[in-house]
Symmetry: C2
Subunit: 111 residues, 2 copies
């Protein structure tokens, strides 16, 4: 299956860029990740996400939201906050979050 990008979102919108360093498959991570995907999809204004991880390297996830209200709803979700706290204690060596307002975007798709 060819992976698909999130495409065709009209600006303005918001990106939450999450970059992290952690072991490749820490205990309990996969289950929590699936659960977080369930929760974020229920947030009104959530527009999609993309995720990549280089084995032995870093991981980057980009989540797209229509506005800051949607992004904050996700950021402050109780179960999400508990997962982040658990992640800091058990999984992550380091992470960064960059919240940006997108005014310009473009893309390419092979015919």
């Amino acid at each position: 299956m060819t992976p698909k990008l999130v495409a065709g979102i009209e600006p303005p919108y918001y990106t939450a860029v999450f970059t992290s360093v952690r072991p490749d498959a820490p205990e309990g991570y996969a289950e929590t990740s699936v659960r977080m995907q369930e929760i974020v999809r229920e947030v009104p204004g959530f527009l999609g996400y993309e995720s990549a991880r280089t084995p032995g390297g870093i991981g980057i996830t980009v989540a797209y939201f229509r506005d800051l209200e949607a992004l904050d709803k996700w950021r402050l979700d109780t179960e999400h906050q508990a997962a982040k706290r658990y992640g800091r204690e058990h999984w992550y060596d380091s992470y960064s979050v960059h919240i940006g307002k997108v005014e310009r975007s473009y893309g390419f798709e092979r015919e």
Copy 2:
């Protein structure tokens, strides 16, 4: 070697998020990638970048710039533009670019 994240940049700054679908190691890609890294490091206002690629999945690169002037200098660089054109013709099935202004960022690093 533990991978390191770009950290400690004070907002406001800009992120260029580049997400792409392509074969894992197309011909000529690695050399061009090295050359692009050389060029972008010379752009005044370039603050660093991070890159991740899931084998068989998508790739995400995030580049950080102090302002739009720096980002546009990189975006419009002649050699960079030629590389993108070559990439569209030879490497990429699809890609997206999202240019965002970051007003809020935070991070975590294990003690």
